[in-house]
Subunit: 298 residues, 2 copies
C-alpha cells in the first residue's frame, strides 16, 4: 500500500503503527490523533510516520483508513471522512462491539465507500501510545465481520492486512460477534468493575482497609477494572442488550451458588467447581494464556 | 525448635517445609500426608524431612504442629491429635476462614492445648507439593487471630515463626478476618467460578466455541476458577454468612450497573469506571501486584 491513515493513536493504534512500519506494510503511514498529550507522546517514539493536523491531509489518497478510537467517535468521524474520501479507499476499525456500529456505518457512511469491520482480540489495562507493542497482534485472533452485503474482495484485502501484522483470522457476522464477546469479554470487564466497586462500598461502610489484603483474588480483578473507561462505557452502551442478558445468566448462577452454600449442597458445589476448572486446562492447551502458575508473575 | 510437624503437604505445606529446611528453623521436620500420590511427589523433592506413617510418630514431642489441610479435615485431625499431644506443643493452621474453625477448636481440642490460628495471604491456582516455592510467604501478609482468650505468649511465638518464613504480621479477631476475606478473596473466587460456568452454559446453549475467544477477559478469571475445589468448597461452607452477604452487595451493584447501561446513564457509569480504576494504582503502589501491564505475561 502507498498510504495508510490511522485515526486514534492510543495503545492499539500505536501498536499497529509500530508493526506496519517495522514490516514496511505501507510506504507512508499517516496518523490523526486529537489528544495533544498523545501527540507529544507519539513524537517521542520517533516512529517513521506523519502526524496530520487536518483530517483532509490524512484521508485524501489513502489506500486504507484504520479507525482506532472509542466507538462513540465513529459517527463524527464518518461525517468528516465523507467529505474527503475517494471510493477506492477502504476503511476498517478495531472496535469491540459491532451491531450498533454497523448501523451507524450503514446510515452515515457515503454509499460508495467500503468499510470492513475488524476486532483484534488483544489489548491491555493500560492506555496510551507509549504502551504500544510491535507484537500486540502476533498470533492473536482477529475477527472480521461478514454480513449479507459485505464485499468479498475488500474482505480478502483486510484479511491479508491483519495476517501481515501477525493475526489469525476468524470471520463471523456482527450478531454472533456481539453475543460471543458479551460473555468472553464484556461481562468479565463489567464484573471486575463491579467487584472492585463492591469492595470499595464495603471498605467505606466497615471502615476496614481491604485493599491491603487484595492478594487473595481481588488484585487480579483490579487489573481488568483499570481498563480505559471511555472505551468500556461505549462497549457497554453499544452492546447493552447482549450484556444485560449475560448479566442475567450470571446473576442466576450466583443465586443458585448462594443456595448451594446455604444448604451445604456438597455434590452440586463440587460438580460446579470441578467443571469450571476444566476451562483453564483448555485455555492453556490452546495457548491462549501463559502456562505458568499465577500468570508467571512472582 | 527441635521438632515441627506439618500435617498436609500440598502447595503451602510443601512451601513451608522448603523454607523451614532452608532457614533451618527446626532441627527436625516431620510431615504427615494422607495422599499416597502426594507422598510420592514429596519423596521426589528430596527434602530433609521425615514422612511419618502414624499420627503418633508425628505428634509426640513436637514443638509446633502446622495444619495445612482443607478446613473440613480439622475436626478429625483434632480428635486424633488429642490422643498424643503434650500440653507444651503449640498448634497453628493456614486456613482461609476462621470463625467456624475456631468453634471446632474450642469444642473438640483438649483444653490444655494452645492453637493460634494463622492465615498467610498467598497461594496459587495450582495444587500439590510439586508447585511449592521457598519464597511463597516472602513479604506476604500473614493474619494471626487474636480473640478474647488468646494466650499472648503463644501468639508471640507464632508471630515470630511467620516472620522467620518471611511474612509480615497483622493481628485481628476471627470475625473481622472472615468479613474482610469474604470480599477480597472468597467473593472473587466465587465470581470466577460462576463466570466460567456462565460461559459454559452459554456455550452449550448457543453451540458457539467461546473458549477460543477467552483472551478478552475470561482467561484471567479462568485462572482463579482453576483453584482447588475441596479447599474452596470448605471455605464457602465455613464462611457462608459473610459470603452470602458479599454476593448480595455484588448483585445489587450489578443490577444498578445494568440499569445504567439500559438508560445510557453516562455520568453514573463514567463515575463508577473511573472510581474503580483507582484501586489498581493503590494495589500497585502498595506493591501487592506486579507493576507491569497484563501482569507482565506476554
Amino acid at each position: 500500500m502507498k498510504k495508510v491513515l490511522v485515526i486514534g493513536c492510543g495503545l492499539l493504534g500505536s501498536s499497529l503503527v509500530r508493526k506496519m512500519s517495522k514490516k514496511k506494510i505501507a510506504k507512508k503511514i499517516f496518523v490523526y490523533e486529537k489528544s495533544q498529550s498523545n501527540i507529544s507522546k507519539i513524537k517521542k517514539l520517533r516512529l517513521p510516520i506523519k502526524i496530520v493536523k487536518t483530517f483532509k491531509d490524512g484521508v485524501v489518497n489513502s489506500d486504507l483508513i484504520i479507525i482506532c478510537t472509542p466507538l462513540s467517535e465513529y459517527k463524527k468521524l464518518i461525517l468528516k471522512i465523507n467529505n474527503f474520501i475517494s471510493s477506492r479507499t477502504l476503511i476498517t476499525d478495531i472496535g469491540s462491539s459491532k451491531v450498533e456500529t454497523s448501523k451507524i456505518i450503514k446510515k452515515f457512511l457515503r454509499k460508495d465507500i467500503q468499510w470492513i469491520q475488524s476486532h483484534p482480540i488483544t489489548g491491555s489495562e493500560v492506555s496510551g501510545p507509549e504502551y504500544g507493542k510491535v507484537n500486540m497482534f502476533e498470533d492473536k485472533w482477529c475477527i472480521l465481520i461478514k454480513d449479507k452485503k459485505t464485499n468479498l474482495r475488500c474482505l480478502k484485502f483486510i484479511s491479508s492486512f491483519w495476517k501481515k501484522v501477525g493475526s489469525k483470522i476468524v470471520i463471523m457476522d456482527s450478531k454472533k460477534h456481539d453475543k460471543i464477546f458479551s460473555i468472553t469479554s464484556h461481562l468479565p470487564h463489567l464484573i471486575a468493575y463491579n467487584l472492585v466497586k463492591s469492595a470499595q462500598d464495603f471498605e467505606k461502610k466497615q471502615k476496614y482497609d481491604l485493599i491491603k489484603f487484595s492478594a487473595g483474588g481481588l488484585r487480579d480483578f483490579s487489573r481488568i477494572a483499570a481498563s480505559n473507561e471511555i472505551m468500556w462505557r461505549d462497549i457497554f452502551f453499544d452492546n447493552k442488550i447482549n450484556v444485560s442478558k449475560a448479566i442475567d445468566i450470571f446473576i442466576k448462577n450466583l443465586n443458585s451458588f448462594k443456595k448451594d452454600i446455604k444448604l451445604k449442597n456438597n455434590n452440586s458445589i463440587l460438580k460446579k467447581l470441578i467443571q469450571t476448572k476444566k476451562v483453564r486446562s483448555k485455555i492453556i492447551k490452546l495457548k491462549h494464556d501463559i502456562n505458568k502458575p499465577d500468570f508467571g508473575r512472582s
